[in-house]
């Protein structure tokens, strides 16, 4: 595999087609066999007032995190792009429109801000688009064309991506877009050979790649489909809404239904109702929605009803920062709600795990008759990665419910206290199995019962049940180079990918560092984590929340205070930030 590793950024004003261009770039390079990790940021407004940035990391092997520095900046709007120059590598390349419609005073062109060692390529995007298609709308495509020829990407890769996106919009639209791309490509070949020799070339890696480009949200939605859900109930909230939108299109094709409820409370209620009746269902929300769901989640715990809830974390608290990323719902997910209400909480760290853990959630929810909360984040939900989805198996749609044997017919105790803590669950309407279910504390038969001994026993059973789930949960994963590292870095969610890259970088420089990935937040693998911590000198826990919520959860397992690295800037953590912190501790 090649050592290609470049990050391309497209920056423009909303309305410039920045996001569309980023999508085409990702598609084209994925088609050419590269591995992509891409993340866009854009304002809430549709037109005219905000900066849109797409960032794509393009490598030969699957990247774990975004790069801290950009290698190529394509500017569709100089005023916005100028602010991105500090992120550009010292010898990075800038592509800009060198024929704007009006004269610019000094400093308003990006050309005035380019560093001494940076390479500047001027391409008249606007004129090329006008010349090829008669309108300025295609200037983003002309820019992509010039980029493609400069960096040695075959036009064919882009043509396929353009056909996929614009084909459905009709012959005329497709033609105009292809013409604009080709105009930019031609220009790059003919007029831009000064200095382009030194640029990395993105030559085709594979013929017809089988990898798909998926965002976290789409991976989750696909997993839900593959898990065979019958129903989805939800209420729109950034950044989880795309899941509902995707399922609204796809779920009916399998005979299922998507229902938009009046709020999050009714959403979780309906999910519980669906699972109670034996059908898989799901809801996805964000922090504020999770808070609304809390009481009914604990109802699920008390009444031992399965549920799958996705919390796509965003900046908080309260309405917080809806379009920014954060990891600050750990406390709420693990502890939220009245009473002793343990539930399963999982945290995927990349798009593949989004898919895998969603599938697993349904299995765990059914087997352990418990709500399962999946914690993702804005960054993970919206970022796009190339991956090969595992093929569906029987186990995915299979039924993980634990049903009662026939000999309990006629004498069925719904909440029987068993060795594992799991009480076999009959579905309502099963002949010979009559039971009651309630959110009140209850006896083994499900009849409300407030006696002190009962409550003690029932609480103990419920807790034992959860503890028994541990072997079924994804265990922590170690990344060690030596037996006794000076420093162990523990993280969760997408921050882990960034941390691992920082740790690998430190290991290359000879520092004694290791990493540990946590994906099961509750219950957590105290023993395995503890053993890892034993081996390490210090422990560093970087996470995107202010209080150090993972540190609060597992910090006690270490013999001394863990070192926290907390960031709530709304942006994903940078490799450099973690690396510098590692350095400062270990050096």
């Amino acid at each position: 595999m090649s050592r290609t590793d470049i990050t391309v950024e497209i920056c423009g004003m909303s309305g410039d087609g920045t996001i569309a261009a980023g999508g085409l770039l990702n598609d084209a390079l994925a088609e050419a066999g590269f591995s992509i990790l891409a993340f866009d940021s854009y304002p809430a407004e549709i037109r005219g007032f905000g900066r849109c940035i797409t960032r794509s990391r393009i490598t030969g092997t699957q990247p774990l995190a975004l790069s801290d520095k950009t290698d190529v900046l394509i500017s569709l709007d100089d005023k916005q792009s100028i602010s991105r120059i500090p992120i550009l590598r010292e010898n990075g390349a800038v592509l800009f429109d060198n024929h704007p419609p009006a004269f610019l005073p000094e400093g308003e062109s990006i050309a005035a801000h380019v560093g001494t060692e940076m390479q500047l390529f001027g391409v008249p995007f606007g004129d090329l688009a006008s010349g090829a298609s008669g309108s300025l709308r295609g200037r983003n495509l002309a820019a992509l064309g010039a980029f493609a020829s400069l960096f040695g990407v075959q036009a064919e890769s882009f043509h396929q991506a353009i056909e996929k996106k614009f084909g459905p919009k009709g012959e005329a639209v497709l033609d105009a877009n292809l013409k604009c791309f080709d105009a930019g490509f031609e220009y790059g070949l003919k007029d831009l050979d000064d200095g382009s020799d030194g640029l990395p070339k993105l030559e085709r890696q594979a013929e017809g790649s089988e990898a798909s480009l998926l965002s976290g949200n789409v991976a989750i939605a696909r997993a839900a489909l593959d898990a065979g859900i019958s129903l989805y109930f939800g209420y729109p909230i950034t950044p989880a809404t795309p899941i509902m939108e995707y399922l609204a299109k796809e779920l009916p094709k399998t005979g299922g239904k998507v229902v938009q409820m009046e709020d999050e409370i009714s959403s979780i209620g309906a999910v519980l109702g669906s699972f109670y009746a034996g059908k898989r269902a799901m809801t996805a929300t964000s922090g504020p929605g999770l808070a609304l769901m809390t009481e009914l989640i604990t109802h699920g715990v008390m009444a031992e009803i399965p549920a799958v809830i996705l919390d796509a974390q965003r900046g908080g608290p309260a309405t917080g920062l809806p379009t920014k990323t954060e990891q600050s719902d750990l406390h709420a997910a693990v502890y939220g709600g009245p009473g002793d209400s343990p539930r399963i909480v999982l945290a995927p760290s990349n798009v593949l795990e989004c898919y895998q853990f969603t599938l697993k959630s349904f299995q765990l929810a059914e087997k352990y008759q418990i709500p399962v909360i999946l914690l993702t984040s804005f960054y993970l939900d919206n970022r796009v990665e190339t991956l090969r989805l595992p093929s569906r198996t029987e186990t995915d749609t299979g039924d993980w419910n634990v049903y009662p044997d026939d000999d309990s017919k006629g004498n069925y105790r719904r909440f029987e206290i068993t060795e594992s803590g799991i009480s076999p669950r009959a579905l309502p309407g099963s002949e010979g199995f009559i039971f009651t279910t309630t959110g009140l504390e209850h006896s083994e038969r499900g009849i409300p019962e407030y006696g002190g001994d009962n409550h003690m026993r029932m609480s103990e059973k419920r807790h034992r049940k959860i503890a028994s789930a541990l072997p079924d949960l994804p265990p922590p994963r170690e990344f060690l180079k030596n037996e006794k590292p000076d420093l162990g870095v523990i993280s969760w969610g997408p921050t882990f990918g960034t941390a691992l890259e920082a740790v690998e970088k430190a290991q290359e420089e000879g520092l004694s560092v290791a990493a540990l990935k946590i994906t099961s937040l509750f219950p957590y693998h105290a023993e395995a984590i503890g053993q890892f911590m034993q081996r390490c000198g210090d422990i560093l826990i970087p996470e995107l929340n202010f209080q150090g919520q993972l540190a609060n959860l597992i910090g006690h397992l270490h013999r001394k205070e863990v070192i926290r690295l907390n960031q709530v800037t709304g942006s994903p953590m940078e490799v450099g930030t973690i690396f510098d912190k590692i350095r400062s501790i270990v050096d």
Binding site: D127, S130, G131, G134
Partner: protein, 582 residues
């Protein structure tokens, strides 16, 4: 400007001012040729119509399409800095002349015959233009010409490889066929007197041009081998080619100098240099002319002035002195000073001094014509002597062919007015509804088409002079015509219906649509400027700035409330009484 269903023929001052700014090519043309209309005709493959539009204004399209100085092209909107190169307006005129129907209908009289007669002295472009207009106005016209052939500088000053004789002759014949009494071989002051003419004719128009070569006034000027540029060309064009040596130095910077240099090569010279007082930057000839001259092997030396011609009766060498150019003076030309002590010498066996001409003095009439040159009131063409008029280079000094034609026509109008008490020509701005441009934006990026020239180089030096510029082919002409923005289109926003969505500004290809606080107008009511603002509160209107507009139509296409209108606005300059073409 208001719009009505029928075309409006406006004579309002503000509309004339509008045309100056909005159709700069036409405004730059001394005879106000309707450039966009004739280019559009080429696009529509109607070369005859294109030719006729030219005929109406400039009378000699085939000739001008080859040798005009093209004041229109330097003003062409497509030639603005960031928009590219100007449209090749002149080459398109030539294409119209090359591809039109060969039969040109004979022009008819505009008015009845008037029993007055006019004598025009000089059959150059100025005289011929005046003769044409006077004949069509019903007067009896006699044209007296000192040389054997009509045409003046066109025949005698310009070499055949730039202007083939056949083209020139055909267009001159067309004018003379209007019943004009052409009398060649008659020189004023020798064969006939001015007093005599004034007695026999109701009016006399002097259009004798500038044939008095300016002397160098340096020692040795009279040596064998030293020619004046004009004499050189006249002899050549009269069928008496001058003898040139091997090493030729041409002094001068105008078309005559280049014509002499290139002609000298064709007459067998091996080493020809044009020696300039200033630099190549300051040459008045077209870029194509300079390029072709260099390709033929002419060298251009600069910053030198001839000081002395050396030899003994026969030219052997020329002494030059270096010059230093200063900043441009009031007339636009740079001041030059010679640099003391910088003399140097170049060998030569032929020197051609093409440093300009002046008008020839004629025998003094009376004290009203000092130094023998008749002067006229500026703009009126009238001299102090009753019935005596003058026009063209004779009055202004050497200028260009198109300016001479304009002067001739204006002088003729002045004469007719004098005779009949009436105006005979009018100007009108014609405004009509039209559909938006059918030009796709992609045409604005078509590269300019170079004119094909005769290759290989050896063919140009044939015994029989061949035309160097070959002219566009029909398809080439059509392609080049696509580049014209058609500035006769006028796009306007109805502010009362505009919702200020500003989509038009988003799609505008340049800063042509503006949010303005205030507009300024001149005394005629024409818009002269805008005070733009980006403070929303101060915006009082949204305006298409027609001086920046390239007539792409994008604004009109995108306007969601359809509040942008388009009309066709043309400046027509024509004889009064000529029926309007449908």
């Amino acid at each position: 400007m208001t719009r009505k269903a029928d075309p409006i023929q406006s004579t309002r001052a503000e509309d004339f001012d509008y045309m100056k700014v909005n159709v700069p090519c036409q405004d730059a043309c001394p005879v106000l040729t309707n450039v966009p209309a004739y280019i559009r005709a080429v696009y529509e493959n109607d070369f005859t119509l294109s030719y006729n539009i030219n005929l109406e204004s400039n009378l000699f399209p085939g000739v001008l399409g080859r040798i005009c100085s093209r004041p229109c092209e330097s003003k062409c909107r497509h030639g603005e800095k960031e928009l590219g190169k100007p449209v090749n307006i002149c080459y398109l005129k030539r294409a119209a002349a090359d591809f039109r129907d060969r039969q040109v209908p004979r022009e008819t009289l505009i008015h009845h015959r008037i029993s007055k007669n006019v004598a025009i002295v000089g059959a150059g472009p100025s005289g011929l233009a005046a003769a044409h207009d006077l004949a069509l106005s019903g007067l009896s016209v006699s044209v007296l010409e000192a040389m054997e052939k009509p045409g003046g500088m066109l025949y005698y000053g310009i070499p055949a490889f730039r202007l083939p004789r056949a083209v020139l002759t055909e267009e001159i014949e067309r004018v003379l066929d209007l019943g004009i009494d052409f009398r060649p071989g008659i020189r004023l002051g020798k064969d006939i007197t001015l007093a005599g003419l004034l007695k026999d004719f109701d009016a006399v128009l002097l259009a004798t041009g500038c044939y008095h070569p300016r002397r160098l006034n340096i020692p040795g000027e009279a040596f064998d081998g030293v020619f004046s540029g004009l004499q050189f060309m006249m002899d050549l064009n009269s069928g008496r080619p001058p003898r040139v040596g091997k090493k030729v130095l041409v002094l001068g910077a105008g078309f005559t100098a280049f014509d002499c240099a290139r002609s000298a090569l064709r007459l067998g010279a091996e080493d020809v240099s044009i020696c300039l007082r200033r630099t190549e930057e300051d040459l008045a000839v077209t870029r194509e002319e300079v390029l072709e001259a260099k390709r033929e092997g002419v060298r251009i030396e600069s910053l030198m002035v001839a000081k002395t011609i050396l030899g003994n009766g026969n030219l052997k060498r020329v002494e030059f002195i270096r010059t230093r150019p200063g900043l441009p003076g009031t007339a636009g030309k740079r001041e030059i000073t010679t640099i003391k002590g910088s003399e140097f010498v170049l060998d030569a066996d032929t020197v051609i001094a093409a440093t300009g001409q002046g008008p020839e003095p004629i025998p003094i009439l009376d004290e009203r014509t000092p130094e023998g040159i008749v002067t006229v009131e500026k703009g009126s063409f009238r001299s102090p002597v009753a019935g005596l008029f003058a026009a063209g280079d004779y009055v202004t000094g050497p200028s260009t062919v198109i300016q001479a034609i304009a002067a001739g026509r204006k002088a003729a109008a002045a004469i007719v007015t004098e005779m009949t008490g009436r105006d005979c020509r009018e100007r009108v701005v014609r405004i009509e509804d039209t559909v938006t441009t059918d030009r796709p934006r992609t045409w604005d990026f078509l590269p300019t088409l170079e004119i094909p020239t005769l290759e290989p180089m050896q063919d140009r030096f044939d015994i029989n002079p061949k035309e160097v510029e070959l002219g566009y082919a029909e398809e080439q002409a059509q392609t080049e015509s696509k580049r014209c923005y058609l500035c006769y289109l006028h796009y306007e926003i109805d502010i009362k219906r505009c919702i200020y969505c500003r989509y038009c500004i988003d799609v505008a290809p340049r800063d042509c649509i503006k949010l303005v606080k205030r507009m300024t107008t001149n005394e005629n009511g024409a818009v002269t400027g805008f005070e733009e603002t980006s403070v929303w509160r101060d915006v009082n209107g949204i305006i298409i700035d027609n001086s920046r507009c390239i007539r792409c139509g994008a604004c009109m296409k995108i306007c969601p409330v359809d509040c942008i209108s388009v009309s066709k606005v043309q400046l027509l300059e024509r004889p009064i009484g000529r029926a309007e073409e449908a």
